[in-house]
Structure formats: C-alpha cells, structure tokens
C-alpha cells in the first residue's frame, strides 16, 4: 500500500505571513508513479461549497519508489487561517501521487499571531 507523509520542520503548526515554511515529504509507493506533487494549498470548509487553491507546486517527475524530499515555500501575506460561523479557511501542504490521486496532507496555521483567527458573531463595539 502506498504511504505518503508530509512533515513540517520542528512540527510547527503556526506561521506568519512571509515566513519560510520548510519540511520534508516522505513516500513509499507500491507501484511507480508518473509524478509526485508537493503542493501548498488553502481550502475552505463550512456552509458554502468548499473552495481550494493551489498556491505553489513542487513537482517530482518519475520519482523513486521510496524517498524523502525536502521542500520549502515562502508563505504569502494572505489569506490568513480563520474560522467564523460559515467559513473555515485552512492552509496545508499536501503530497499527491499522479495519476492515481492518492494523497496525504499536513495542515498548519498562517496568521500574524500564528493562531487561527476566530471571527465571532458578536458586534465589535470599540466606541
């Protein structure tokens, strides 16, 4: 059975915009794959139809059956990870075997504080 794994350096979960996100992808394929893609993605979930976008891709053509590949992405300024009432936005690094589509993912938080921004429904009165 194919095994795919994404590990983030020092197992960090929180990152700031503009930081360098580094880690390594590990795989053990049960059959050769055309390519492996390590993707930096964000995804939404909640009440609306899920959205997703691949921000950056690191492609490995004709990969070895078993290997470890380091990766590094410069994180953009936005969008930041947040959770409201209708939408949760999550960042992740995922590894996808092509053409089968088998994948694994490691989620992380991107925000100025390194913590998920929580949008509360209460009015924010400051005056």
């Amino acid at each position: 059975m194919t095994q795919l794994e994404i590990g983030l350096r020092e197992n960090r979960k929180g990152y700031r915009p503009g930081e360098q996100l580094a880690g390594a992808a590990t795989w053990k394929l049960d059959r050769p794959a055309e390519a492996l893609e390590i993707r930096l993605v964000w995804l939404t979930a909640g009440k609306g139809t899920p959205d997703a976008r691949i921000v950056e891709t690191h492609r490995i053509d004709r990969p070895a059956v078993e290997a470890v590949e380091p990766f590094s992405f410069k994180l953009p300024a936005e969008p930041c990870s947040f959770s409201g009432q209708l939408i949760t936005l999550t960042w992740a690094v995922e590894i996808v075997a092509l053409p089968d589509g088998e994948n694994a993912r490691a989620e992380f938080i991107l925000s100025p504080t390194g913590r998920e921004i929580v949008l509360t429904p209460a009015p924010h009165e400051t005056r």
Binding site: E78, P79, L86, T120
Partner: protein, 558 residues
C-alpha cells in the same frame, strides 16, 4: 421612514393562469402580427418601385397649392407637378409625384417638394417596366421598413409571454437563505436599447430639431407678409379632438413671391380650442404682419419664432433616453463575484455606493412605464365600458392583478424618485483600509441636508458562503464585525465630517475565495423625517496588515 422590498418566491402558474396569461399576451402577438403584415405589404410595394426604370423627364409645370375644398380634418396642401418622358419613341406625360397621392399639413412641406422640380427643368422619373404609362417622380423611402420594429416589439412581448407561460417552470427557492440569481442581462440590455432608440428619435424631432431652428431663426430677416387664410384645424382623436393653427401667408423676397403656412417651429396639435382661436383671429385674412425668413433659403419662413410651452414636450424623449441608458448600464454590470483583489489605489479613495439611485429610479421607472403603458390601454377600455354601463366582471377581475402590479410599480417608482432628492453623500478614505491600521474617513452630504435627523455610519464585516447543490445556489451571510463609527443626532455634524476608522488587527481582510467571500462594507444611514431614509452601503476593500519592515522573521515557538 424605512421601506423594504422583499423578493418573495413565486409559485409556478397553474393552468387557469397560464390560459389567462396566454390570452393576455396573445392580444399583443395578434396585434403585432397584423400590423407587421400590413407594414410588410406596404414596404414590399415601395421596394417594387426601386426596380423600376430610371428615365429622364422634363418638368412642364410645378407648384404647391391649397385645396380649398378639403375637409377641415384633412391636410389641404398638395403639390401639382406635370412632366414628360419618352418610352420606345413614345412621348408620355404624367402628374404622379409619389406612388400614392399625398397632401401636407403645411404649405412649406408642399413647397419644398415642388422646389425640387422647378418648371422647365430636367429630372429623372421612375417608370414601371410592366406598365410604361405608370411613372412617379419620387420613390417612397425604404426607411419605412424600420417601422417594422414597432410591431416586432409587440410580437416579441406577446410571443415571449406565451412561451414563458408554457415553458417548464422553475421551482421556487425554499429556506431562509437568499437565493442567488443573476438578472437576464441580455434581455435587459435589449429593452434598454429600444428605449434609447425611441428616445433618440423623439429627441431629434421634438427637441433637437426645433431648438436648432429656434437658434438659427434669431438671425432671420424680418419681412412683411400678408395673411391669405387662417383657421383652426380640427384633428379627430380617440380621446377627443385636438386643434392646430393653420395660417397661410405670402411674402416677397428679391422680387419673388413665396407662400408658407408655418406658424411656429414645433407644430402638432393639442387640446384647447380657445388659444388657437385667439391666434387665428389675430392673424385674420387680409391682415399684414411680420414674418421671419431664412436669408439663405427664402422659401423657409415662420410667423412666430418664440419657443412656446409646447417645447416642453421635448423633455419626454429624455425620459426614454434616461431609462434606456440606465437599463443598458445596469445590465452591463457584472453579475458574477468581484475579482479576488481588484487593483487598489494607494492614495485617497472615493467610494461608490453599491447601487446607484439613478439606476434604481430609472430601472423602476422603465418597468413601470412599460407595464402601465400596456395595462393602461386595457384599463382605459375597461373604464370606458364602465361609464357606458357595459362592464364585464370577468374582464375586470382578470385585469385587476395587472392593475395592482402597476400600482405597486408606481409606488416603488415614487419612493425611488423621492430618494433621488435625498442628500447625496460622498465618502473618501485617506488611504485603503488595512488590518491593524487606522485611516481617516471623510464624508460630505450635498443637497437636502436640513431634514436629516440622525446619522449612523458603521463598518461591517461579513462572511458570505454560497452553496451549490444540484441546480440551485443559496447564499448565506453572517456579520462577524460591526463597529459604529458615527452616531450623530446633531444635524450640524451631518453635512461634513471626518473620523478615524480603526480596523482591528485580529480579524480577516477582504477576500474572494470563489463560493465563499469575506466582504467589508461601510453602511451609512441618514434618518429623514417623513421621507425615505438615506440608506447606502459602500463595499470597501480591507487589505491585510502592512508587511513588517524586517524581512527576516524570528521563528514562532508554539
């Protein structure tokens, strides 16, 4: 006062409603087909003359004249031209100017035709090759084919209405969230352009033409003229007769006698017999007055070169033009989601309201005119039946929903109209809003500010999530941020002001994910006593926090 309109889901029409609606639209379809048919035959006949042979001819005599025996309801000026032409060695004569005999309501029009073919001149006539004895001097314009557009509108309305009655229904939305629909932009634009075309044509003939003449006539020569005849001309109308002034006068320029019947530049008839009678009495036959003559074209003259209140009719085409343009502009606005991040200027930014009041008003007005214009025909007949004691209850019941809708549209139009006169507000930001930053917001009211009683400006952040499943789309909205920036009851603080808008850093910036969005708005509400409130919303992009000066960030320890 606050007015809200809610979009209520509608049930698909049942069979009786379908039949009734088909009957209603069938009237339009039948009328359109009938008139289109008549017009088509007429245009076909005109087109036939364009295949006739062009033969040189000699003008024997040419003059404009008055038919003294004409009924008061008919145009009594006509052209008398006789000409000679040769076919296969045979000399033939004809006095036929156009395909069908034509008379004119003013002497000037008849004179203009006669002037094109002066006596003892050579011209070209058009001879029917199948019948050389039939010839005309002037072919009717094929531009009349454009009038086919008018019955086509009725055919489109009637056919489209019947089709929509019987085409498969769209099951209405259910649930508490808003159903996302995109307006029929193509149909809206089409109707808009029709209004623009009609307005443009009317504007040219009712406004631009007469005003141009009025301005030019300021430099015309003042020439003595003698009144040959004067009368009030009566025109039959369905709603009663209308009247116009018909004065024929002669004048002399450079030894040549001219005749004209133009009283003012904008002719036409209207109700009100007394005023016309006074004019006719003032310009009695045999009296001498001063007329104004175009020095470059002495055959053009006018008795009264003042504007007259009837020129106000020239404002009507502006309504059609405005409605049409508003509908076209509104239908061109994108119905899809805005781009993820539109280019944002770095300096001061003026904000535009989400919906223009003018577009809202003209859009409502256009729909109200269109709807009530059609319904009024039937309402008028119904009223006429009622006054004559032959009212049909079925007809009245059938028409009543349409009348109610028309009344509702008039009310909405009235509200939108009143809102036009509300004070207008412009908002300007010193620089784009950013998370964790404060920006100065300036507002300025212009117009009717004296009746503003309360002002509230809020910064609102919204989550928008659209869910598609199957064939329908729902959109849910939730506010996650609301901050009152201005709450003023003192009208002195309304007209203009400025305030610092702090945006917290622990929230999210504007973003369009696709089906999900983060939207920020500045909402402004001005409470107006005994008048619709000023209620505007301005979408304002909120940018992420400014990047930090130090490029290398220390790692986070979590």
């Amino acid at each position: 006062m606050r007015f809200r309109t809610n979009a209520n889901p509608k049930k698909p029409p049942g069979l009786p409603a379908k039949l009734g609606g088909s009957l209603f639209f069938g009237v339009f379809l039948a009328a359109g087909l009938f008139f289109a048919g008549l017009l088509f035959l007429h245009v076909k006949q005109i087109a036939g003359t364009y295949r006739w042979d062009k033969i040189p001819c000699f003008i024997l005599s040419s003059e404009a004249d008055v038919d003294e025996k004409a009924d008061s309801e008919k145009d009594r000026y006509f052209v008398r031209i006789r000409y000679r032409y040769e076919i296969d060695g045979r000399a033939l004569e004809s006095d036929r100017v156009t395909s069908s005999p034509r008379s004119y309501d003013t002497f000037d029009k008849a004179s203009a035709v006669a002037a094109r073919f002066p006596p003892d001149s050579r011209a070209v006539c058009h001879v029917d090759p199948a019948n050389p004895g039939t010839a005309i001097l002037v072919r009717d314009s094929l531009g009349q084919a454009l009038f086919l557009l008018l019955p086509l509108v009725f055919i489109a309305v009637g056919g489209g209405g019947i089709y929509s009655m019987w085409s498969r229904p769209r099951t209405p939305a259910t649930g508490g969230t808003v159903k996302s629909t995109a307006p029929p932009r193509q149909v809206g634009a089409w109707f808009g352009w029709i209004f623009v075309a009609v307005g443009g044509v009317l504007f040219y003939f009712l406004t631009l033409g007469p005003i141009t003449n009025l301005i030019a006539a300021r430099s015309w020569d003042e020439v003595p003229c003698r009144i040959l005849s004067s009368r009030v001309q009566t025109h039959d109308g369905d709603d009663g007769d209308t009247y116009s002034v018909d004065i024929l006068y002669s004048y002399q320029v450079n030894g040549q006698i001219y005749r004209s019947s133009r009283y003012r530049f904008l002719g036409g008839s209207s109700s009100g017999y007394a005023g016309k009678r006074d004019i006719v009495e003032r310009y009695g036959p045999g009296t001498t007055h001063t007329c104004f003559v175009d020095p470059a074209h002495p055959e053009k003259a006018v008795l009264d070169r003042s504007a007259g209140w009837i020129l106000l009719l020239g404002l009507i085409p502006l309504v059609f033009l405005g409605v049409g343009l508003a509908v076209v502009v509104a239908s061109r606005k994108s119905a899809g989601p805005p781009p993820t991040r539109a280019p944002i200027a770095s300096g001061p930014t003026s904000l535009e309201p989400k919906t223009s009041r003018l577009v809202r008003f003209f859009g409502t007005l256009g729909v109200a005119i269109f709807w009530n214009g059609i319904v009024s025909v039937f309402a008028h007949n119904l009223w006429s039946d009622y006054t004559h004691g032959r009212l049909s209850v079925f007809e009245a019941l059938f028409l009543s929903p349409f009348l109610l809708i028309g009344a509702g549209l008039i009310v909405f139009t009235g509200i939108a109209f009143l809102q036009l006169f509300n004070a207008r507000v412009t908002l300007e930001l010193d620089r784009p809003l950013r998370l964790g930053d404060a920006t100065e917001l300036r507002w300025t009211f212009r117009g009717q500010t004296h009746n503003l009683r309360r002002l509230r400006i809020e910064l609102v952040g919204l989550e928008q999530a659209s869910y598609r499943q199957g064939t329908s789309t729902r959109t849910a909205r939730r506010e996650f941020f609301r901050q009152a920036l201005v709450q003023a009851d003192d009208s002195r603080a309304f007209v203009t002001g400025r305030i610092e808008v702090p945006v917290p850093g622990d929230t999210v910036s504007s973003f369009d994910f696709g089906s999900n969005r983060i939207v920020w708005e500045l909402r402004l509400r001005g409470v107006v006593q005994w008048w619709p409130d000023v209620d505007e919303a301005f979408v304002v992009p909120v940018l992420p926090a400014a990047p930090r000066a130090d490029a290398i960030l220390p790692p986070m320890t979590l």
